[in-house]
């Protein structure tokens, strides 16, 4: 955050921006990789347009990738880039508002032609009209230099031009003293089948790097080495939320010794989870692309009825379609995991933008009294553990569970310490044992600790049973319209949810002590809240960060914990949905901080709120 502009900064924020066709996301991913292998902590944020391939050079077609990397703990991709790499006028002008004064702009000078300025709705050339006076501008003829570098390999102009992302990457890698090796390896693998492209891309990468080393760029472009982060685990990799969630699902199946059936229908930004899970049959996961979201959730319910662990996934509008079927899963008490990768709404809204506005839907959004546990992931890497935890609840308590993540988490990446799956406790399921019979253990016998019913599946030759969405007799499971029975079943369902709280850990405090302000947050705001609280504490504000994983039910100690603070702040990327849950469940008065713009919180925004609400000052400035 408090990055310096030269020398040895503790962290740096770099943003790459250009057309979708410019390979921005690839460039970002490669830079992330190099950064990770340099031992930096990091967080990234791909920010692509809604269009598949928007017309080149337009403002709405700008694709961007931002990374923050550093030697401190990095939890967000950062508010304000230290360096912007802009491949065309649109990329420059769209991103300018984010840049702090003094930031470095590396621009492809050859792209600032009159025609392309017009494509970007610009009347004047910002490189010339003084509008960049507050920044350090380094205009390089990237396209031209790339063409020269790849000339020996005899590519056409189009293919040659396409190498410019690697040229720029080479330059930026030089700038931050980061290794080219992973990118070299990637290029070799990717273009194995086409030697000319392989050679050309390598040449571009090296040329960009050499340019940094040799060109006399003066003050604008100096090399800055970011020191390594003091990492604790032994092995790391970079991971996106979608990947981590996929791996968590794979691991959960294995921990439960249960085959997983993942049933879904594509929707942005949830599709990537399906993409990551396809082809993992040998890891116990089969995938099924259904004709719509209703079919997806229902086939998952069918799979769970048949003894596999059914999982479905979608985004808000698709989850809405699954609502009726979730009621069936509640009524029939089948394990089911429902993943919601939230996006900005209402309705189609802004599918590629992020939001946390499906919490109401998850907690309250069904007809009838249909309690469902809700759990949320806070960061890309956290998705792994959360997937396991959610699966554990679903299988142990014989219930559908909703797991909330969002478009930001799905696409963002971070450095992730490799988990040891052997260290996770196995996930118990409620299947009958080989000696169980309907007499020794009746179909609707309930586990007293969880109220879970037996998980019976067709093919089991000891049992035979029928189930459905009509109210069941508490004891026999037969259809029942009895008043007292419905009350008993309703109470049981409420208890079943409440029991989950007996199995989840007490809420802990992420950062800070038990005094002054408490910031209670959930989901993908984790990184920004964490940083804001850390900075506020450095300023002497008594503030703690409490981050919820379990939202329904809430951890049993939460009410008591929050009671120790003067003020509870609840920052959310919605109009105040967790705040509603806290008022509902704990009757606490909280101060809402809401942003609904499709963008993650800026750390600075949150910090300002913390300053405004500060009550107590820390005795001495500490470093949280």
């Amino acid at each position: 955050m408090t990055s310096q502009t030269s020398g040895s900064p503790t962290s740096q924020i770099v943003r790459f921006a250009g057309d979708s066709g410019d390979g921005i996301q690839l460039q970002g991913a490669q830079f992330t990789h190099a950064s990770a292998l340099s031992g930096h902590d990091l967080a990234t944020f791909p920010d692509f347009p809604a269009e598949i391939r928007a017309p080149a050079g337009t403002r709405f077609g700008v694709s961007a990738f931002q990374i923050q990397f550093g030697s401190n703990r990095v939890t967000t991709p950062g508010d304000a880039p230290d360096v912007l790499v802009a491949f065309n006028p649109a990329a420059l002008v769209v991103n300018l508002p984010r840049l702090p004064k003094g930031a470095l702009i590396i621009a492809d000078a050859s792209a600032f032609t009159e025609q392309r300025l017009r494509r970007a709705d610009l009347d004047a050339n910002p490189m010339e009209d003084g509008s960049l006076a507050d920044y350090r501008v380094c205009a390089i003829d990237i396209a031209q230099l790339t063409l020269e570098a790849v000339k020996p390999f005899g590519l056409g102009t189009k293919d040659s031009q396409r190498c410019k992302n690697f040229w720029a990457l080479g330059l930026v890698l030089w700038m931050f003293d980061q290794p080219r090796e992973p990118t070299v390896a990637w290029i070799r693998a990717r273009f194995r089948a086409n030697q000319a492209l392989l050679d050309a891309n390598l040449a571009a990468l090296n040329a960009g790097h050499a340019y940094g080393e040799t060109a006399e760029l003066g003050r604008e472009l100096t090399q800055r080495h970011v020191p390594e982060a003091p990492l604790k685990a032994i092995e790391y990799r970079t991971i996106t939320g979608a990947e981590a969630l996929a791996l968590g699902i794979v691991a959960a199946g294995e921990l439960a010794d249960t085959e997983v059936m993942f049933c879904s229908y594509p929707i942005t930004p949830a599709s990537s989870l399906l993409h990551h899970l396809v082809g993992l049959e040998d890891a116990g996961v089969t995938t099924y692309q259904a004709e719509d979201e209703i079919a997806a959730v229902c086939s998952a319910i069918g799979a769970s009825y048949a003894g596999k662990f059914g999982i479905t996934s979608s985004s808000g509008p698709g989850i809405a379609l699954k609502t009726e079927a979730l009621g069936l899963a509640v009524a029939t008490e089948l394990p089911l995991l429902v993943v919601n990768s939230q996006r900005a709404g209402p309705s189609t809204g802004m599918p590629t933008k992020t939001e946390q506005s499906d919490l109401y839907q998850a907690v309250y959004g069904r007809n009838a009294d249909s309690p469902i546990p809700v759990i949320a992931a806070r960061s890309p890497g956290d998705c792994f553990e959360v997937a396991i935890e959610a699966s554990r609840i679903a299988l142990r308590h014989m219930t559908p569970v909703i797991l909330l993540t969002d478009g930001y988490i799905a696409n963002a990446s971070e450095l992730w310490p490799l988990p040891d799956i052997d260290a996770f406790a196995p996930i118990p399921t409620n299947r009958p044992g080989p000696a169980d019979t309907p007499e020794s253990r009746p179909v609707y016998a309930r586990d007293p600790a969880t109220e879970a019913r037996l998980w019976l599946a067709p093919g089991d030759s000891a049992y035979l049973y029928r189930v459905g969405g009509i109210e069941k007799d508490f004891y026999t499971g037969d259809i029942s319209y009895e008043a007292a029975n419905h009350q008993r079943m309703t109470d049981m369902r409420a208890r079943k949810l409440a029991r989950v709280a007996d199995f989840i850990p007490d809420q802990t405090v992420e950062l800070g002590d038990e005094m002054g302000l408490a910031v209670v947050a959930w989901g993908s705001t984790y990184g920004a809240v964490y940083q804001a609280v850390r900075l506020a504490r450095e300023e002497g504000i008594a503030v703690a960060h409490i981050h919820l994983r379990h939202i329904n039910p809430l951890p049993s100690n939460l009410g008591e914990l929050l009671g120790r603070y003067d003020t509870v702040l609840v920052p959310e990327l919605n109009t105040g949905q967790l705040a509603t849950v806290l008022r509902d469940r704990l009757l606490i008065n909280c101060v809402q901080i809401n942003q609904v713009s499709g963008q993650p919180f800026a750390v600075s925004t949150l910090l300002n709120h913390l300053r405004a609400h500060a009550t107590v000052r820390l005795q001495e400035v500490r470093h949280g």
């Binding site: 990770a36 292998l37 031992g39 992973p182 990492l231 685990a233 032994i234 092995e235 790391y236 990799r237 791996l247 794979v250 691991a251 294995e254 085959e259 059936m261 049933c263 993992l280 049959e281 040998d282 890891a283 116990g284 089969t286 099924y288 259904a290 004709e291 719509d292 209703i294 079919a295 229902c298 086939s299 319910i301 069918g302 799979a303 009825y305 048949a306 003894g307 596999k308 059914g310 079927a325 069936l328 029939t332 490799l418 799956i421 052997d422 599946a457 067709p458 093919g459 089991d460 030759s461 049992y463 035979l464 049973y465 029928r466 189930v467 459905g468 969405g469 009509i470 037969d478 259809i479």
Partner: protein, 331 residues
């Protein structure tokens, strides 16, 4: 199941709750009979249904059963079958459940050709919700929501199935205790999705809509039983038959012995032909209603391709996946 099982072994202990005289009773009986004939193992048999009077059936069959939500039975059955392809999975649905709210799932089940045995009870009415017209109700049907007669052109279930690419299409009458069990088991034996439309009498809201086809007196004249390889004859004396009119590209009824027509003029049923299925199912009164196995063609069912590649070393594989990509090793 060691001992021989008989029909009543397949009846569950639940009290049957249809209206007295409802055609569903006969169908239930035929289902019990079919299971007994097939010697089906109740523990490996699953009945999945949607919502409607018809969809109550699973409660009354002593196998595994799942009474789900309106219109979604094919999707849940798909999940069941894909999760455990060894199961014998039956779907019970109605004209409302299967063709109104559930039409899309039926389409996709038929097109994917998963090995399900789908029984659609067609009473041309919404029974459970008290008698509104359904997508199969004939134009002009009077009901609480169409007191002046319905306006919609009805869907013909079999034609819809042809359009969806179904590989097995059959039709039977609820009270046909002789023929129905055999057709049910033909569907059960078919590898792929079998679609069986059962003409069912709702005695309360749409009484006798199938009268002419189902009553002993008139059946012979009003239905033509389709048997593969046999000429398409009908009538009490089987003196009438179907012929393809090349000018209209439609089937027409002719009488043996009249105008020089003999048996060689009569179309022979070819159950593998979708064109013939289309022709048969496009017939309107006064032409007879086609019954029996109208279409059947051998195919590989979806789940045969949808295979698990099991490995003995799943945990190993999971560990491998966790380590996929470049690692930063801090040792």
């Amino acid at each position: 199941m060691a001992e021989a099982i008989v029909r009543k072994d397949y009846a569950s202990d639940q009290e049957v709750r249809w209206c007295p005289g409802c055609g569903d009773y006969s169908i239930l009986k035929a289902v019990h009979r079919a299971l007994a004939d097939a010697g089906a193992d109740p523990h490996n048999t699953v009945f999945v249904s949607g919502i409607g009077c018809s969809s109550r059936l699973p409660y009354y069959v002593n196998t595994y059963g799942f009474h789900t939500i309106h219109g979604r039975a094919p999707t849940i059955a798909t999940g069941v079958k894909l999760a455990n392809p060894a199961l014998d999975v039956w779907v019970i649905t109605g004209d409302g459940d299967g063709l109104s709210i559930g039409g899309n799932h039926l389409l996709h089940a038929l097109r994917r050709n998963i090995d399900l045995n789908i029984l659609l009870f067609n009473n041309e009415i919404y029974g459970l919700t008290k008698g509104q017209y359904s997508p199969t109700s004939r134009e002009g049907t009077r009901s609480p929501t169409s007191p002046g007669g319905s306006l919609d052109q009805p869907v013909v279930p079999g034609l819809f199935a042809v359009g969806a690419g179904a590989t097995f299409i059959a039709r039977a009458v609820d009270i046909d205790q002789k023929g129905l069990p055999g057709i049910l088991n033909a569907g059960r034996d078919h590898k792929g999705t079998a679609f069986i439309e059962i003409l069912q009498n709702c005695i309360v809201y749409n009484e006798d809509v199938w009268q002419s086809v189902s009553s002993k007196k008139t059946a012979a004249d009003h239905q033509v039983l389709c048997v593969h390889g046999e000429p398409l004859l009908f009538g009490k004396e089987r003196t009438q038959g179907l012929r393809l009119n090349l000018a209209t590209l439609k089937l027409e009824a002719v009488t043996l012995g009249e105008n020089g027509i003999d048996i060689s003029d009569i179309l022979v049923h070819d159950e593998t032909s979708t064109t013939l299925a289309h022709l048969l199912l496009s017939m309107h009164s006064p032409l007879p209603t086609p019954m029996g196995i109208i279409h059947r063609r051998p195919t590989a069912s979806f789940e045969q391709a949808f295979r698990e590649k099991k490995t003995g070393q799943r945990r190993q594989r999971v560990k491998q996946l966790l380590r996929r990509g470049d690692l930063l090793d801090r040792r």
